[in-house]
Symmetry: C2
Subunit: 322 residues, 2 copies
């Protein structure tokens, strides 16, 4: 097997779950599996679970660690991708953990580490909705709003390695703290909070019924259901969120003259094209110059697999260059 | 004289004036001169004036066109820098004018063309306030607000060649058209309009006296004078503009994790450090993550010469690579 054809392992490390997969040289997933993170156990216990999951998924693919060319992993939080160090991961309560080195020693394969959002965007860029563009912004809407940039065919990290934090850009420049950033205005957390507040102050919504009266149950799928049933309150609040997302994408595209933006995350997967259309209409109104309305806004295509595919492809790209 | 030591000509083509200079291999200006653009005469008449000014400035430097390695020019408006074509310059009323080709034929030297703001930022990056940084945003505050980006040591143009248009990013995402972009909120035009309106509705200001009662006379220098005399109304309106500029810089630095931003333009030159301090304070409050408050915000250093120095250095960089 030529080096370039060897499979790579990809891991998506989250605060709750770890997902892993083996990707062959043609970009096909040979096996995938998952395990609870159990972050409470601390760095070493989580690392042992990572190793266990890798061994399991290799076994499922009928491979040994010597058969793979390397491993890529996306970790939540701030990552020094050059050194393979997780600088700070709040979900995991990790600080300055040399994940790359530790995994390399445990598994005997070269390891590439990056931030989980960057890794997901790399997956969409190489094998998903962003394929074929030179530059790309990815924006993932969930409990928070994350983002990342591919510029000139490479992940762009910036001087503090934090590039892509579109969720923390300001869209209401004269509003108080907590009400001005994109994340404040358009995350799923904010959408649900607003809906709860409105419903509790007696605005009618089908969500009360869908959530069996327990509004804390509202997640992306329920929002999508209410949206598809044309619930007026849900349309209003989701429309506002789409407005701010459209404006923030217009800002990034105006600044960077981008050909493509990929929108992902749980809410996007649940709402689908209707959501993209809402964002697109606002984008077209706000972007400058008008030529930039040629920019494509795509929903992510790899869904839950973006992390493992992106991690494996990131490892392939980085490790083959070295 | 080795090729790398040969001088380059730099031109800053504006709607009103043309400035030109000869820069030697060590980055020293051997001669500079200027001429009215007389844009009314049309493309060919302006080109003849460009050629005349180049011949004049070469003569002043004691050189002939054969002595220089090339010429760089910054043009106002949208430019295809790869083809040397001015796509659209409203001030000049030019559309799709092959300025690079025409100048090359007239002068017999290789020519590099780019947008005037990009060229000024390149000057600051190579020889001014942005020297020594890998990435950089430049923002120029004048009658409008222009900007440009240097990423990984190169001017970043983006797919529609329009990157850097920070003036057209939205900072008040729920305000009507005309009241939401940075340019709407913080250009000198907007500052003067607001001051006029406030003064005309009987808010006292020293500007009435400074402008001899004719508020249409207010320019950057008068604003700076009123600011330095602690005129309360001027401080209020300039403070608001600095607020929005600080927020917009925070947005760009949050998105791109930049190490440096250079702020220029007539207002910056007139107001100096006080203006940068106002912007800096807002920036520090809004940027995310907090590590990014290490980002330097510098006033431009080359002043009026940024365009000619940047154009000559851009030509040097592009033409020596070819």
């Amino acid at each position: 097997m030529a080096k370039n054809d060897k499979p790579y392992i990809g891991i998506d490390l989250g605060g709750t779950n770890i997902q892993a997969g083996v990707l062959d040289g043609k970009g096909k997933l040979l096996a995938t599996d998952r395990l609870k993170t159990k972050a409470d156990g601390g760095e070493q216990a989580v690392t042992r679970r990572l190793v266990k999951l890798v061994e399991k998924v290799l076994d499922e693919a009928g491979l040994k660690s010597g058969d793979v060319a390397g491993l890529g992993i996306g970790a939540p939080g701030a990552v020094n991708h050059k050194k393979g160090i997780v600088l700070s991961a709040i979900n995991l309560r990790w600080t300055d953990y040399p994940l790359g080195k530790v995994l390399k020693e445990a598994l005997g394969v070269p390891v590439a580490v990056d931030n989980d959002v960057n890794v997901g965007i790399w997956g969409e860029y190489m094998a998903g909705a962003g394929k074929g563009y030179d530059d790309l912004m990815g924006i993932f809407v969930g409990t928070g709003i994350g983002g990342g940039l591919v510029l000139d065919g490479k992940l762009f990290h910036g001087v503090q390695l934090t590039a892509g934090e579109i969720g923390h850009t300001t869209l209401r420049g004269d509003a108080p703290l907590g009400q001005r950033s994109l994340e404040n205005l358009a995350s799923r957390t904010n959408i649900v909070d607003q809906l709860k507040r409105l419903i509790e102050s007696n605005h009618p919504s089908i969500l009360t019924k869908l959530a069996d009266g327990d509004l804390s149950k509202i997640r992306s799928r329920l929002l999508a259901e209410a949206f598809k049933e044309n619930d007026a309150l849900t349309h209003k609040v989701i429309g506002q969120a789409a407005h701010y997302i459209g404006v923030s994408i217009a800002n990034a595209v105006t600044l960077l003259s981008l050909p493509c933006v990929v929108v992902g995350g749980g809410l996007t997967e649940a709402l689908g094209d209707d959501w993209i259309s809402l964002i697109r209409a606002v984008f077209d109104e706000y972007v400058f110059p008008s030529e930039l309305s040629k920019c494509k806004i795509h929903a992510s295509r790899l869904g839950d697999d973006a992390g493992i595919i992106g991690a494996a492809l990131m490892a392939k790209q980085r490790l083959e260059v070295e």
